[in-house]
Symmetry: C2
Subunit: 198 residues, 2 copies
């Protein structure tokens, strides 16, 4: 069993999944072979098709197999609101958690000069085109609250100012249900300084 | 983004992997689309081929794409020793950890009447054929130390007795480096009762 070509290769390939090491990959391979060959064949087909067909929406850059995603092609959504997020997953999460009915713009990353990620990689020129068109009245900055996410929000805020567009940032503070005693110092200090009228 | 057909389907399909729920599946799908389309396409190809080509070795029932696995076709291995394991993964683990040079027999499960797993599902008739051939001098029972694994070992031991073949069970006790204080009661009691001459 030192050199079972195909099985070894399958285990290696499964390691390309995030969070899957050699041990879990082995478990997955044996599980599929033993109990779910149909599911595995279906996964193989859909995976191949997805990699071929899924591209970026030409308006908001999210993943879609159509040229224009569901949200951008929905005329019922408010085109004057644009929510900028780091990833398609962030947009999904906002869709599920809120009643937001505007549009999105997906950066697919955050400014990170050390990793070679600058405005070009984030599609900022496409974003500026949207702003030029003059429909956007508010740009909601929903990048993460990491250092790089904050820097990206700051950068986008300056561009919005250039186009005279109102930029807002989603609120950061104590999570709902969170107890002060167990909140990290940074968040608490941020929440304290950012207090609002009651 | 409520109805992105292909992406939703990919996420669903990824959930067929053991230990992968909707949240990790979503993360995997986005990761592959964003950063590793080549790896994903390769995974898709190898997965399809593996499900088609990989079957069971006709001698030991482990997974192999050939009719006869590497170990069974290796004439340098000692055909008089037969180690019975529950899964191909167990055989791999023994191969990596020990210097065992005999052969294996893979049950692909353990006796579990409630789940409908009896001798037929475990290939016991094939195992009996091996014993009939008269080459086997020792059968090493390496099923797990669970209740079902123990019951399976007991069952196999009785068959071996019928064929006048010596059956041995791998040793269970305190793991190497384990401290008595932190060992569960059941293992300690087993190790104590199973003490050997020093």
């Amino acid at each position: 069993m030192q050199n079972q070509g195909l099985l070894k290769e399958l285990i290696q390939c499964l390691c390309c999944l995030p969070g899957v090491g050699p041990k879990s990959a082995q478990r997955m391979a044996f599980h599929l072979l033993q109990r779910n060959r149909d599911g595995a064949s279906r996964l193989s087909r859909v995976l191949a098709q997805a990699m071929l067909d899924i591209g970026h929406c030409r308006e908001c850059r999210t993943f879609t197999e159509a040229g224009l995603c569901e949200i951008c092609s929905d005329s019922g959504r408010d085109a004057s609101l644009l929510c900028v997020v780091e990833s398609p997953a962030d947009a999904w999460t906002i869709e599920q958690a809120t009643t937001y009915k505007g549009r999105y713009f997906v950066l697919h990353g955050r400014l990170s000069p050390l990793d070679g990620v600058g405005p070009d990689q984030l599609g900022i020129s496409r974003l500026e085109q949207h702003m030029l068109e003059g429909r956007i009245s508010e740009m909601i900055l929903a990048t993460n609250s990491t250092v790089e996410g904050q820097a990206t929000a700051h950068f986008l805020g300056e561009i919005a100012a250039k186009f005279n567009i109102r930029a807002t940032r989603i609120a950061y503070g104590i999570p709902m249900g969170g107890e002060l005693e167990f909140i990290d110092r940074n968040t608490l200090s941020h929440a304290f300084n950012g207090r609002t009228e009651f």
